[in-house]
């Protein structure tokens, strides 16, 4: 970095005057302009964070230099499969898992997902108001995932609390957060183990049953393998689509012209969804570990350093995008990386897209005009951007 862009060494994000729980796009711009590669220390990791699209792609597309193994400390006791598996074994697991999440398999779930969304809307539509997060955004992906995976849907509330215990530990400080994650992690393993034991006795069509019968590279998956896949799926399946729906509805509630367009031109929903994925980037970042000394934008990275890539900033980087900070549903070229990139591109992206599209379609069919409850301001959580206080109102 040159002198005129160097910030003071100990600048605090709070010095920018930007709200930490507000829309993050301005903060991203500040980071790109002043500290595109910066040292960070927070509850999720201590290391280096990169904000430019170019650096983000370099990290994502070079898994031999930027490994996923040991990157995210989220209560696991063994490497998560397939996220923490490096090449060449990674592709063997993806070969098993990719078909389960391929668009043609996901299409088979569309009708039941549509009916689930309508059930959830039925429960609130006469009220003219709801907390969108808890009424729609949380139950929708949770029920789809738990059914598909083979965990009991009636324990949804318990599982959501466990997931939050990892992603948003309700304690202060790095050490306390780590301890809370480790304790919660054991409970997640126990819940999956319970399901494994049950499916061994009575296999059904769900993922756990299929995994217990599956082979990778000529070897049957071990029970630990199934746990290590299950643990990752549990955290990914119970949070990301919730955060995405929250972000999208919070945006649309505050931008009535865009909201009206989805109601009047439902065919535009897929393109609108992609643009909102870019703009909001609900999963704001992912973490890797450098396997060797290297550099990013001229800044040294040492072997063993953790590197957090800011996907949200990459998706709004004016060095890469035309009209980066305008939300444009007619954008011709939109190669956003809201689902990451490189070999660890989100395995569930096709499932997520189906759930989001169906959710947006049915909601706007049934609730053609809505807004934020007066006096409320959406508060976004960091990292995985959910909006727990998303209160919407509409005319009945």
């Amino acid at each position: 970095m040159t002198d005129d862009t160097s910030p003071p060494d100990d600048i605090e994000v709070s010095d920018t005057g930007l709200a930490l729980d507000g829309p993050p796009q301005e903060m991203y711009k500040f980071l790109r302009d002043h500290m595109p590669v910066m040292a960070v220390e927070h509850e999720m990791m201590t290391g280096t964070s990169v904000a430019l699209h170019e650096d983000v792609m370099t990290v994502l597309q070079n898994p031999n230099i930027f490994s996923s193994l040991g990157a995210a400390e989220i209560g696991q006791v063994r490497p998560l499969i397939p996220l923490e598996i490096d090449p060449p074994d990674h592709s063997k697991f993806r070969k098993l898992l990719d078909p389960l999440f391929a668009p043609r398999r996901v299409a088979e779930l569309e009708a039941s997902t549509r009916s689930l969304v309508n059930d959830l809307i039925d429960a609130v539509i006469e009220d003219g108001a709801c907390n969108f997060h808890s009424s729609i955004a949380e139950p929708l992906p949770s029920q789809v995932f738990l059914t598909m995976f083979g965990l009991p849907v009636e324990r949804t509330a318990e599982f959501i609390e466990l997931k939050d215990g990892i992603i948003r530990p309700p304690v202060e400080g790095i050490e306390a957060a780590t301890e809370h994650r480790n304790i919660t992690g054991q409970k997640i393993y126990a819940a999956i183990q319970e399901a494994i034991d049950e499916k061994k006795a009575n296999p059904t069509g769900d993922f756990i049953s299929q995994f217990l019968d599956a082979e990778v590279d000529g070897h049957r998956l071990t029970e630990d393998d199934v746990l290590d896949i299950g643990y990752l799926f549990f955290l990914a399946g119970l949070d990301t689509v919730t955060a995405s729906l929250d972000c999208m509805l919070a945006y649309l509630a505050q931008n009535p012209a865009d909201q009206r367009r989805l109601v009047e031109a439902p065919d535009d929903i897929p393109a609108a969804m992609e643009e909102l994925l870019r703009w909001e980037t609900p999963v704001a970042g992912v973490i890797r570990v450098a396997t060797q000394d290297t550099e990013l934008s001229g800044c040294p990275i040492r072997a063993g350093d953790k590197v957090s890539v800011n996907l949200g900033s990459a998706n709004t980087d004016e060095r890469f995008w035309d009209e980066a900070d305008s939300v444009d549903f007619d954008r011709e070229i939109n190669k956003h990386i809201a689902f990451g990139g490189g070999i660890h591109r989100c395995l569930g992206s096709h499932l997520a897209r189906m759930e989001l599209r169906v959710g947006l379609q049915e909601w706007h069919k049934r609730v053609p005009s809505y807004e934020l409850k007066p006096g409320t301001t959406p508060a976004y959580t960091m990292g995985l951007r959910s909006v727990d206080n998303l209160e919407l109102i509409w005319e009945t």
Binding site: D98, A102, P103, K335, G341
Partner: protein, 64 residues
Amino acid sequence: MKVHLDRERCQGHGRCYVLASSVFESDDDGYGFVISGAVPDDFHDAARKGAGNCPEDAITLIRD
């Protein structure tokens, strides 16, 4: 126009076959492939759209 999809670079985002289904298709794993390497004139815009929207830059267009 010819279209080349680099299977090593492709990570299965699925944008090409969703946005340009006349030129690209999905395999059983959700990764894209080119239906026919030589693209008829009518499909040039679709090919450009599919290539331009690949987050991994895995698709190359080659003018005849």
